[in-house]
């Protein structure tokens, strides 16, 4: 019971002391602000910078063109009008993206007509078109034109892509900022020599475990708040509709964050013990930083392009890259359940092994002062 208690005490101290620090609260607020700003501000302040190319199908009703241009001006948007003979031509030009949308309104204004787009119509375009058509057909039923998308993206696709990209960025930032807390925490304890007092009653591996656990919980709390805030604001600003799979995606992301954090912060923790002063800490953790950065870059550059390619498959089974690659592939719908399962098992094994090795190096190094300690010496110094 003593060991569990010791781990819990260490973890609680990390949570209370760091959670209480201005740095944690400030960074949380700041990141929430950035996230909110990222979702909300563009839709508030920025109009559509480029002209929207709208083709009118067949013979348009008289007065439609000037009315469209007028209401576009009211929306502070530029509209580039052209005309196509029929619906089939409109579809073709839409598909090869020479126009953004096509509008088919009966010449006699007998109906509200139809707005045809490739994937989806921007809120601005919908507004302009609806307003114009309703105004022209004053007196008749005030219906806006129906909207037809040739290749409508599912809500799941959109969320998946946003999750994939936002998730991997949050994962990387989270592992790094909180992993470096573990790193500097270990070095500070060593530098202030408080570690000698603690280790008189606590086993080194329990101290390391408590530290990773405590900081990990803080990181998880921050990530959860960020994700929830992101979803909430995306909802409020109407830029995202949540499919039923959202909960699954969030859980998948948080789950992989836990695995990734446990893996990387353990590595940073024991490498930190090799340094004697905080100035040396970043040097000591260089190998981990490099591996993580490489995994991150490969993930965003190659795995997003080809989520079921050979590189993506290989990286799925490598513990350093799995926490980034697996949720990414899952979000893009390009991973088999068995791959996820095997990857999780490999990851757990890797964390277990790394923790065993790390705890031993940590024990060997944390009480030795003076300069950088070599990995091999630390390994030998401990039992």
């Amino acid at each position: 019971m003593n060991r569990v208690r010791a781990v819990r005490l260490v973890a609680m101290r990390e949570i209370v002391e760091r959670g209480r620090s201005k740095g944690y609260v400030a960074s949380l607020l700041f990141t929430v602000f950035l996230l909110v700003a990222g979702f909300v501000l563009p839709s508030v302040f920025l109009g559509n910078p480029e002209a929207t190319r709208l083709a009118l199908i067949g013979e348009p009703p008289p007065g439609l063109e000037p009315a469209l241009l007028l209401s576009a001006a009211a929306y502070d948007t530029e509209l580039e009008l052209s005309s196509v003979p029929d619906r089939a031509t409109a579809d073709t030009t839409l598909r090869d993206k020479t126009i953004d949308a096509a509008l088919d309104v009966p010449a006699d204004l007998s109906g509200p007509g139809e707005l045809i787009v490739l994937e989806d119509a921007s809120a601005t375009l919908q507004g302009i078109v609806s307003q114009t058509v309703i105004a022209l057909r004053a007196g008749a039923n005030a219906l806006p034109p129906a909207i037809t998308a040739l290749e409508p993206p599912s809500a799941e696709d959109i969320t998946a892509i946003i999750f994939a990209n936002a998730g991997i960025i949050l994962m990387f930032i989270g592992i790094f900022s909180y992993g470096s807390w573990v790193l500097t925490g270990v070095v500070e304890e060593k530098q202030s020599r408080v570690v000698e007092v603690i280790l008189a009653t606590v086993r080194p591996r329990d101290l390391l475990m408590g530290k990773v656990l405590g900081i990990g919980l803080l990181a998880l709390a921050q990530l959860t708040v960020l994700v929830l805030a992101g979803i909430a604001f995306a909802q409020l600003s109407g830029r995202l509709t949540l499919p039923p799979t959202t909960a699954g995606a969030v859980i998948q992301l948080l789950g992989w964050f836990i695995l990734g954090f446990a893996f990387y912060s353990t590595a940073m923790g024991f490498l930190g013990a090799l340094a004697s002063r905080t100035e040396e800490a970043s040097n000591a953790s260089m190998p981990v930083t490099m591996v993580a950065t490489l995994a991150y870059i490969l993930s965003i550059v190659f795995v997003t392009q080809e989520p079921d390619g050979i590189l993506a498959r290989v990286m799925t089974f490598l513990p350093p890259s799995a926490p980034m690659v697996v949720p990414l592939r899952a979000a893009l719908g390009a991973i088999e359940p068995w791959e996820t399962a095997v990857s999780v098992v490999l990851m757990l094994v890797a964390i277990w092994v790394l923790f065993g090795v790390g705890a031993r190096v940590y024990s060997g190094a944390v009480l030795q002062m003076g300069g950088r300690i070599r990995l091999r010496d630390a390994w030998r110094a401990s039992r």
Partner: protein, 306 residues
């Protein structure tokens, strides 16, 4: 009782401890002496499992010391260390909890020790905002907060002002009287002589002397003799052998003599030379025993224990 049994510890080519043995009894203040690098800190680290001996044992109350036993020990490492940015009260109660106290008891004890050291109003201050002397007090409180049965302190007096020294020795004395085992290392030999009952002297990893200070002094074959004979300039000594002149200051001479010296004859000779103003015969000071013990080329391990 703390028993150090045949401890040997090597760091690469360096032998930090070489078959060192001694015991420390509860209720007595034990001074642990030795030149720098003699193995004092290594011995203490072995007691707390911070260093693993290559051979030998550390025992408490007849059993090998384990993690369970260490919960009831208090340790103050030479390199002071606490969390600089953690509140003093939280810090004390944190360490108390690591020694097995409940959160509630830990807070109570932390509060009473802070009160004892006059720091009750600083409980919510960060450690780094305290003066150097007060930080030292907190460090001592950290070693004491869980009411340990054994206190091991590495250089507890170094860096203390006279006030701090008197608080420290008062607390240590009080703990020893309460039946706690107290072992501390120090280079301040006069201080050790004043406060300790027992000493252990270690040199190059070996225990070269151990036991009660008075016993060690008595056992030492040398005595100090200080004689002042008015108006002689010490010339009356000239006919005498078997002594070493330590110091000569006008009429006053300080001698180192063997225990068996004929004091009566010496006094008679001094008396014959003139008016004897001072004649004192004393065992050597601890600092002299220490020098003798650690400079002997082939230390005869006098492991008299207590």
């Amino acid at each position: 009782m703390l028993e150090i049994r045949n401890l040997t510890k090597r760091y690469g080519p360096v032998t930090a401890l070489d078959d060192a043995s001694f015991t420390a009894s509860p209720g007595r203040l034990v001074g642990f002496l030795g030149p720098n690098g003699a193995g004092k800190t290594t011995t203490m680290r072995c007691v707390f499992g911070l260093a693993v001996p290559d051979a030998g044992q550390t025992r408490w109350d007849g059993k090998e010391i384990d993690a369970e036993a260490r919960l009831r020990f208090g340790y103050m490492p030479e390199q002071r260390g606490l969390y600089p940015r953690m509140r003093v009260g939280d810090q004390l109660s944190y360490f108390a909890q690591h020694h097995g106290l409940s959160a509630k008891d830990a807070r109570t004890r932390a509060g009473s020790w802070l009160e004892r050291f006059g720091l009750a109003d600083r409980a919510k201050s960060k450690l780094e905002d305290l003066s150097h002397g007060n930080q030292q007090r907190v460090q001592l409180a950290t070693a004491l907060v869980h009411d340990p049965v054994l206190l091991v302190l590495d250089e507890p007096f170094s860096g203390l002002d006279p006030l701090g020294i008197s608080t420290m020795s008062e607390v240590l004395r009080e703990r020893a009287t309460a039946g706690v085992g107290v072992v501390f290392s120090s280079h301040q030999l006069d201080l050790v002589e004043e406060v300790c009952e027992d000493v252990v002297i270690i040199s190059r990893g070996r225990v070269v002397a151990a036991g009660g200070i008075d016993d060690l002094k008595t056992a030492s074959g040398r005595r100090h003799l200080e004689v002042e004979v008015a108006g002689t300039g010490g010339a009356w000594l000239d006919g005498w052998n078997h002594h070493t002149v330590l110091d000569r200051d006008g009429d006053r001479v300080k001698l180192l003599v063997d225990e068996g010296v004929d004091l009566g004859a010496l006094l008679a000779a001094a008396h014959a030379a003139g008016e004897v103003r001072r004649f004192s015969y004393e065992p050597p000071r601890l600092s002299e025993l220490f020098m003798e013990a650690v400079t002997e080329p082939q230390p005869a391990a006098a492991t008299g224990t207590r």
